[in-house]
Amino acid sequence: MTPAKVAAEPETSLMQTPRSAPGGKQATNEPRRLADMGTGRMVWLQVLLGVALLIVWQLASGRLVDNFLISNPIAIAGRLWTWTLNGSIFIHIWATVYATVLGFAIGAVAGVAGGVWLGLSPFLSRLLNPYIWAFNAVPKVALAPLFILWFGLGIESKVALAAILVVFLVFVNTYAGVREVDQDLIDGARLMRASKRQILMKVILPSSLAWIFVGLKTAVPFALIGTIIGEMIAANRGLGYLVQRAGSDFDTAGVFAALVAIAGLAVVFNEIVGTVQSKLDGWKVISR
């Protein structure tokens, strides 16, 4: 068993979101199927659905379900508005963004480095294989108490938790990518007098790039999850802390308001990844 077995294929990523429907440009013809609906109309429909759900929620709250359990959209919006006006929400958002981005960066660099290193050394990867798998099986969240002991209550422990979640995903994909490199390409480069370093930089890394990107892309939401969990366990700022604090105050509207902020952040991160990927897609013509 090698880590390659569990890695996602670059082409079949779970995180793929269809960017626009293929039939989106057929403005003149009446769309035949609902799935072929134009992007503009789809956005309207999505907004409409959201508004409808919010209305149902608002009406159900206090009538069908206790307001204490599900709060209501108006109260939640009010809470977000208050936080925005007094500026407190930005401190928490910034803390979460900072830890997520830093954790992601550290995890990504460590994951790529580790994946390349073990991918290039069949001996080491065989030697370390059982340990890597044992460690991978440990729920990373369970490491949070350790990280708090090691790094304290500050941002460092959140960064560490985000990084540890990211590092395995990136590692496994990078490792698989490096192992997948066509040996013929390496042999060819060696015959053409390329040095080991040149083979790494000009053959192995470009060839693994598609795999590495899948790992990085999959890891983005996990960086956010790691940070939030770290903040929920012990922190004095951050969106996870906000959820935790509102919960212990029995402030349902506050919990929902913090969750809305987290969801919004996730959407923003996803958009950034999507933009980066579409920029790269034009360039990486890697398929053989």
Partner: protein, 256 residues
Amino acid sequence: MIELQHISKTFKKKESALHAVEDVNLSIAPKSIVALIGPSGCGKSTLLNMIAGLYPPSEGQVFYDGARVTDVNTNVGYMTQKDNLLPWRTVLDNVAFPLEVAGVPQAERYAAAAQLIDLVGLSGFEQKYSHELSGGMRKRVCLARMLIYKPNALLLDEPFAALDAQLRIAMHALLMRLWEEQQQTILFVTHDLVEAITLADRVVVFTRRPASIVLEQEIDLPRPRDVHEVRFTEPFHRIHNALWDRLRTQYDEVRL
């Protein structure tokens, strides 16, 4: 000078063993052109791989200019049967690759690459990627990439198999012209007896797997040869018929 001494190769997989090459002795003089010919899958490519030093023989030794080949042999340029172009690089960047790793400045290596791309008849395709090219075009890109860094010996594994007849003759002429100028040692694998006799100084015929040498035939046709005209000459026919008689017995069992 390339020398093979008692080369045997067996590929072992868990329980089965594939005996690919059996006791091959061959010595190839500098600046000579030698064609290896024999049934498909008989182990000719295995032989080239061992000369290139990609893996060692199970028995015997390979020598290049008197030195034993124990690692990748950077004296030879090797054009493999399957193209090994870097798929994320354009034709131009692929052809320039050997000069790039040698540290040649970009403008200089691009100029050299463009010239060779033109030589193999692919000008206009500099910015294409290999998946946009046909099999024959890819092989010509590989040829250009091999010629750009001027290795002393060329190993060509079925270099012209994917080309149409006219283009093949053009490539034969190109190879002959380059050889007249640069006098490399050329060792090439082919299934085409006409191609072998047209180009080579010596044709070496192999048996079915495990490959061993059945016969070696000197081709004493005068040089420079006109790659198109030479095949209609009387000496060519004499050599061709003699070789074909011997070769045919190798194919009899598969009833071609």
